[in-house]
């Protein structure tokens, strides 16, 4: 049984799942109404949105990279989807156009980083900034439009899925997590991802093509960031190019709390989902305790450091030789 469990969760991911449970219990004791259906539903929706945005960050970090363009792509998808749909384009076509453009943006970042051996942090930052500015120029800084009703219902706070009291977003995220688990463990793409992340030299000798893999992975990251941006449009009701800003550091935090190492080759998506829930729960607890927004941020910083210091430490240099 325990072996079966540890094959599903890598060790650190298990700690993140436990952390999410413990923090939930603590919140339920400390704050009245924390465990109410309304509050749980809100946390699950916010957690799902963060988990979807952090999916690509997880894949990219398994490769040993980092994607700072996620918030910009979220803003891009948010604004462009609303504008195109508002101009009368049918929703499925809009959806395809936005995700397609996002994939191209991501693939460009990944291919450039790998082909020219440039740190992905700089490439994604530069391309992300240019994309966001491009969107702002296109809309003249005044984004218009809104989401189709189907997307609003998909993420709505009052929604339900059949007998379940949650909007379809929550079961969708669960299915997505299972699908990614399968992709990472049972497909050639997944195994290549870990191989290249763990040892670029060995992976190249095993005929993994780094440029193709980096391009694919960064494209996936941008596609899921764009998906999160479209879903956010349904959640907030109006579009804004800056809607993704908090996701820059939140995706990195969720992935790291979930036990994926930034050096590559280790980690998984189950941990990231747990990490996203940990972050959302912590925020809710801190706000529930009556802290103002600024103090919540500072306290969140302390708690992230404490969590990572407890189980996410690096090895000493003497053990790397």
């Amino acid at each position: 049984m325990s072996r079966a469990l540890s094959s599903v969760f890598s060790n650190r991911a298990l700690i993140a799942v436990l952390g999410a449970v413990v923090i939930f219990a603590a919140g339920a004791v400390l704050i009245p109404g924390f465990a109410s259906l309304f509050s749980v539903r809100a946390m699950l929706i916010l957690g799902s949105l963060l988990a979807i945005a952090a999916l690509g960050q997880t894949l990219v970090m398994i490769l040993g990279g980092i994607d700072l363009s996620i918030p910009f792509v979220i803003g891009f998808a948010n604004v462009v989807f609303a504008s195109l749909y508002g101009d009368g384009l049918p929703a499925p076509a809009t959806f395809a156009i936005v995700l397609g453009c996002a994939a191209l943006i991501g693939a460009a970042s990944g291919a450039l980083s790998a082909a020219l051996a440039i740190h992905p942090l700089i490439v994604t930052l530069g391309i992300g900034t240019a994309v966001q500015a491009g969107v702002q120029i296109w809309t003249r800084g005044l984004p218009m439009g809104s989401a189709p009703q189907a997307i609003n219902d998909f993420v709505s706070l009052g929604g339900s899925t059949g007998p379940l009291p949650f909007p379809p977003l929550v079961p969708f995220t669960l299915l997505l997590a299972l699908a990614i688990l399968f992709v990472l463990r049972r497909t050639i793409y997944g195994r290549k991802l870990y191989a290249l992340g763990a040892s670029p030299k060995a992976a190249e000798l095993a005929l993994v093509r780094p440029v193709a893999l980096w391009a694919t992975t960064f494209a996936l990251s941008a596609v899921f960031a764009a998906l999160a941006g479209i879903l956010l449009l349904g959640f907030t009701g109006s579009s804004s190019a800056g809607v993704g800003t908090p996701y820059l550091f939140q995706t990195v935090s969720a992935v790291v709390i979930g036990g994926t190492a930034l050096i590559g080759g280790r980690g998984g998506y189950i941990g990231t989902v747990a990490g996203a829930m940990v972050l959302v729960e912590l925020r809710t607890v801190l706000i529930g305790l009556g802290l103002p927004e600024a103090s919540v941020q500072a306290a969140l910083g302390v708690l992230i450091l404490a969590l990572v210091a407890a189980y996410g430490r690096d090895q000493h240099i003497r053990n790397l030789i």
Binding site: I66, L112, A115, L116, A117, I118, H119, L121, I122, V123, L125, G126, I127, G128, T129, A130, V131, Q132, A133, G134, Q136, I137, G141, F249, V252, S253, V256, A261, L262, I263, P292, E293, A294, S295, V296, Q297, A298, A299, L300, G301, V302, I304, L305, V308, A309, G312, R313, D314, Q315, H316, I317, R318, L320, I321
Partner: protein
């Protein structure tokens, strides 16, 4: 002087070329602004970015993912603490107290970041991301909206005396370069395992790199406070990403072991002058942002060793 810039490291050549082009453009477009009697205030405008770029450079030099993303919020926090804590709160006006206070706050932050990354061994981007959140949260808690004013001597640090904080940073860096520590830092950044095997105390070297980053950030905070003449919790955090972009543009390697003050300053000056050129054309901030993103990507691509190797190989084949 120009000849020396070009004869220097190959990595900064592109940034130096861009610097010259942009400087000439700027002087042609706006001769009054770049006239000699205005040099002080132009340097004062550029100083926070120059010093922030130097601050993020030092951890990059130490390699293996060393990075300090907390530099921006730290600049903001020190600015807020000086204005709200010392000037408004305690009524202190003397440079003999305010300058050391800024530097000590910077060093304290450097010690905290160094402790988290080198002693606790939290991955640097996560550790400094944590302090990023803490500093920006604290700054907003202490001073929720811009307020206060600064004494005349401090205001002069953004005008006629702007050379003082920048000059102090240059002297400090030149001193560091003469110390054995500099060689240990570059050795650690180039290959930390080899350095450790050769007896270099790698964790201690990295700890000191964060200390230096904090110190330079303290100087940057003084320049920023002088420039804006008040306390503002919202300006500081923006410096992190732009400073990282600046040093990448200048040719500092994010993998460690390559770069220094010249690279950091050239990259930062390029971004400053680029903004200045575009402002002269009255373009919107969005166009400015877009140009800056494109220039950044183009510059790092052109700077890439791998690209140079590819081109070199093709030339030999032809």
């Amino acid at each position: 002087m120009l000849a020396r810039l070009f004869a220097g490291r190959e990595d900064t050549r592109l940034a130096a070329l861009l610097f010259v082009v942009l400087l000439v453009l700027n002087i042609a477009l706006n001769p009054a602004r770049f006239a000699p009697h205005n040099w002080g205030s132009v340097l004062g405008l550029a100083a926070p970015l120059l010093l922030a770029a130097l601050a993020v450079t030092v951890p990059f030099l130490a390699g293996r993912g060393s990075i300090d993303v907390s530099v921006g919020p730290l600049i903001g926090l020190v600015n807020v603490l000086i204005v709200k804590g010392l000037i408004l709160g305690a009524g202190i006006q003397s440079p003999l107290l305010i300058v050391p206070a800024a530097l000590i706050l910077g060093l304290a932050s450097g010690a905290l970041n160094g402790f988290l990354t080198s002693v606790l061994r939290i991955q640097p981007i996560v550790a400094t991301l944590g302090t990023y959140l803490i500093y920006s949260g604290l700054a907003l808690t202490i001073l929720p909206s811009p307020a206060g004013s600064v004494p005349d001597w401090l205001r002069a640090l953004a005008g006629p005396w702007s050379v003082l904080p920048v000059g102090a940073a240059v002297l400090l860096w030149l001193a560091v370069r003469r110390l054995p520590y500099y060689d240990l830092l570059m050795a650690t950044g180039s290959d930390d395992r080899a350095a450790y095997t050769a007896g270099v105390g790698v964790p201690r070297v990295r700890f000191t790199a964060y200390l230096l980053a904090g110190l330079f950030a303290g100087l940057a905070a003084l320049s920023l406070t002088a420039l804006i003449g008040s306390g503002d919790p919202n300006i500081g955090p923006g410096y992190t990403l732009i400073a990282i972009a600046a040093v990448a543009l200048g040719g500092v390697s994010l993998a460690g072991g390559i770069g220094g003050l010249t690279a950091a300053f050239l990259g930062a000056a390029d971004i400053f002058l680029l903004q200045s050129v575009l402002t002269a054309f009255n373009v919107s901030t969005f166009v400015l942002q877009m140009t800056y993103g494109i220039v950044l990507v183009l510059a790092v691509c052109l700077n890439s060793e791998k690209l140079k190797a590819l081109i070199g190989r093709r030339r030999i084949a032809a």
